[in-house]
Structure formats: C-alpha cells, structure tokens
Amino acid sequence: MLIVDHLTHIYEKNTAMAQTAIHDINLVIPEGQFIGLIGHTGSGKSTLIQHLNGLLKPTSGSVFFHGADIHDDDFDRKQLRSKVGLVFQYPEHQLFEVDVWSDVCFGPRNLGLDKLNVELRAYHALKQVGISDEHFYQSPFDLSGGEKRRVAIAGVLAMAPEVLILDEPTAGLDPGGRDEILGQIAALQAETGITVVLVSHSMDDIAKHVERIIVMRGGKIADDDVPTAIFMKFAELEEMGLGAPQMTYIMDALRLRGLAVDPAALTVTAAYNSIMKALGMENHHA
C-alpha cells in the first residue's frame, strides 16, 4: 500500500529555472490494483512515479510505503526499490551486460541474494516476459526492439516487486509487440495479484486492462475514477490533449443517432452486447 500525502516537487528550486512539476498530490494506491496513469506530456506523471520508489526527494509532502515514511532516516530505500519496481521509458537503454542472462541477474544480485535465488528469479522473470532459453546467452544488443524491451522489463521483474510501475512500456513498438507486452503484464497481474501502475498515452491500451484511471493535468490530479466514468467525459479529456478509446466514440455516435446503447462500453464484446441489446437481438451471439 502506497500513500502519497500532499506531495509537491519543484525542480531547481530557488533558481531562475525553477519549475513546479507536481503540486499537492494526494493519492492512495491499495494492493493489487491495476491502475492507469494518463496525462499530457509535462503533466507530472514521470515526476510522480519517480517519487513512488524514492528516486526523487519531495520539495514538500511525503510518501508512505506500508505506513512508513520513505524519507525517514532509518528507512531502507534500497529495499523499497526492490518492492516498488520502476520501468522507465525506453527501458532497453539501460541494458549493459554482455548477455541477456547477466543483465537480468543484475537487479536481484544487487539485493544481496545468493546465486541460486538470483538465478531462479532471473529465469522466472525472463519466462514471465516470454523470452525463450535460446536468447539467454545472446548479447542484449543483438535482440529486436520488442525483445530488448521485454528483457529490460524482466530486469525489473527479477527484483520481485510488490508494485510494478511502467512508464509508457509500449512507446515506439509495433502493434504486435505492444499487445504482447501488455498481455504479459495483464497476465502477470492476474496471476500474482501485484499492483500495477501503467503510464500510457494509448487510451485503448488503458481501457483494455486497468480498473482505475488517474488523470493528471498541470501537476495535479484532475480525475481519479473507474475507466467507464473517466471516458464518459471524453470531451474534457480531449481538451487536455488526451482522448478516449475508439469504442467510446463509436458508442457516442450511435447514441446521438438515436440507438439506446450503453456509452460506457469500452471493449468490443461489451459494445457488441450493448448494440445487440439496443436492437432487441439480445440472444444473438457473435
């Protein structure tokens, strides 16, 4: 459980370059939730997630992990970083080892585990992201873009985090690679029940997986609700330079033309059922 309490962060405070990235944020992230974090570029998403595992020090306010202030002097931040795993944007840029295997071992080895546990975790993490054994001793730089990304994510998963935060894990990938990574993350979440915070610009990706959406705007939380409620306000989202899933637009257009469909339907199945119901053909199945 993570609690963010009146968190404010100002970069380069007291200079001409001072910039308030986030202002007075309050947030509770309970265990096991799959959360989507959306917002325009510069809305403070990246700053916020870096606070969640103590990489930045707040200008004011605090972050609590399991009830302990993470900036207390006696708080073990190294331990925190293994519990709250953060996958940065373009995580493949952090790869450095001679082969995939050693790179994924880097994280757990830093935790001071013995060799057996390090390797167990690395193997498990690589399997979770679907990297097959034949790639284990290849140089990470010889892999394809999508594979590199998955190896890098495995590098964080190998730390066995309780909370996994991913900053745009699908940026720059083709649709196939995107679905693969998101599918694996969703499966992992369903399987292990870890908390996932997914930062994304793709509303369709968000709509498909998350159960709660936090909307950020100008360093503040503009909205925090279930996806259907958030996307109902798609006009507001558009004004922020965001948008809604394609299905929301289709349902809205149908509704304007007089078909009594449920505008909250986000997935193809839900939309199909809603349209069929509106047409009075409930018993037909796709």
Binding site: T15, A16, L86, F106
Partner: protein, 266 residues
C-alpha cells in the same frame, strides 16, 4: 543528482549583460584573463570590483556562480599547497621537514586569487550567453583565420554540436543512473575499486546512447543536405548595437585601469 554542476551552463534571465553581442563578451573575457596576469595586487582589487559589478548587472545570483567553483576546489588546493611548501625563499614557518616561505605564501595567494577570478570571469560569460550565440561569436571573431586555411566554420560547428550535447548527455546520465538505482545499483558506497566497477552499468549505456545520438544527428544533417563553409546565411546574424560599443569602451577602460593599478603600488 548532476544538476549542481553550474560550470558552463546558461542561466536564463534577461539583463544588459545577456543582451550584449557575444563577440563583446568573448573579447571582454579574454581581456579580463590577460588583465589577471598582467595587473597584480591592487590590480586584483580593480578586477574583483569589475567582476562583481558585471555579475550584479547580469542578474545571475552570486551564490549560483560560487556553487560552480566547487568543481575546481581540488585543483586549487593542490596548486596552493604545492606553492606554499615548495617555493624557495625566506622561511616564515617551519615544522618537521616542511617549511613555508614568505614567497610561497605570496605565490599561493596570487594563484588562488587568479584562479578564482579567472573561473568566475569565464563562467559569467557562459552563464549569460547561449551556447549557440557563443559559437556564432567565436566564428565571427576567428573569421580572419580563414586566410591561413583554418576551417573556422567547421570548427565552430563542431563546437556548437559538442556544447549542445552536454546537457543532453547529462540528462541521459541522470536517467540511466535512476534506472540502475531502481534496479538496486549503488553508486555511492564502497571503496575506489567498487565505485569504479559500479560505473559500468552507467557508462556502457551512456556510450551506446552517445553513439546512437551522434549517428542520428549525422543522418539528419545529411538528409537536409548540410554543407558547411561558404555562403551560409544566419537566421539571427550578429549585428553590433551602440550598447556593444559602450561595453567595448568600458572593458578597455577597465583593462587600462587594472594595469595602471597593478603598477601603482609595490
């Protein structure tokens, strides 16, 4: 993390000094540096006063400039200590095998003052001039060198690219460092060997990214048919205004004053 390196960084405020032509600032810095070596003692008082006035006019907080001095503390200590102990002359204090001479004290003090003023003076220039303007100014000033076949434009271009890459690579370093810290890397504790080893996860990705960026830039320049040298026009050509003339006069006046002051006493 790396944000407290202020040396060579631009400080974005609007001031008389910021608005001066970069050529004026380059020449002024050069004259200032020469004046530090020519004028002595009382000359330093004039130099300090001049520098403080310029800093005041530039609206850059003095604190900010002083913070940049941290980078040379070690070099300075080194130079001062060596001068203190190794200058032959009349002994002032002596203990064990070491002795401090009056000449040593004099030399060390001069060196420290010179170094501080030198660095502060040149950081005022970089703090008040954008890297682009700086290289433009340098290119214009070195123009006559083309006569002896020095590729002035190309050199200036390389310089501006190098300068442009400093903040990018710094940001990149910061990002990679954070990513590795998130994976439990420790850059701070341990002995020297351990510390050096801990840099591998930082340096390998950094080099790869530097090469990638250089490659991308070269490709982008070629795609735009970049060609240096003759007949290129500038989007913002450098044109002197009357303020620049006044600044030149003031700098020359300072230079003269500094030399005269240095000769007055002693």
């Amino acid at each position: 993390m790396l944000r407290n390196i202020t040396l060579g960084q631009y400080y974005p405020v609007d001031s008389i000094i910021h608005r001066l032509d970069p050529r004026v600032k380059l020449v002024a810095t050069l004259l200032f540096i020469i004046s530090l070596f020519v004028g002595r003692y009382t000359g330093y008082i004039v130099a300090t006063l001049f520098l403080l006035t310029v800093i005041k006019l530039s609206k850059v907080p003095l604190r900010f400039i002083v913070r940049g001095m941290k980078a040379i503390v070690f070099i300075m200590l080194f130079a001062v200590v060596f001068n203190l102990f190794l200058t032959p002359g009349e002994v002032a204090v002596s203990f064990w095998v070491l002795s401090i001479t009056w000449e040593g004290i004099r030399l060390a003090a001069m060196l420290a003052i010179r170094l501080i003023l030198l660095l502060m003076g040149s950081s005022v220039m970089t703090l008040t001039t954008t890297p682009g303007n700086l290289t433009d100014g340098l290119e214009k000033l070195m123009r006559p060198l083309r006569v002896i076949r020095i590729p002035v434009h190309e050199v200036a271009m390389m310089m501006s690219i190098a300068l442009r890459f400093i903040p990018i690579l710094m940001e990149e370093t910061d990002k990679i460092m954070k990513a590795q810290i998130a994976r439990g890397a420790d850059f701070e504790s341990g002995n020297l060997i351990k510390k050096a080893k801990s840099l591998v996860p930082l340096l390998v990705p950094l080099f790869i990214s530097a090469f990638r960026r250089a490659n991308d830039l070269a490709m982008a320049m070629e795609a735009r048919c970049y060609q240096g040298g003759e007949h290129r026009t500038k989007m913002k050509p450098l044109i002197y205004r009357w303020q620049d003339g006044v600044a030149y006069l003031l700098v020359l006046a300072y230079f003269a004053a500094c030399i005269v002051a240095g000769r007055l006493l002693f």
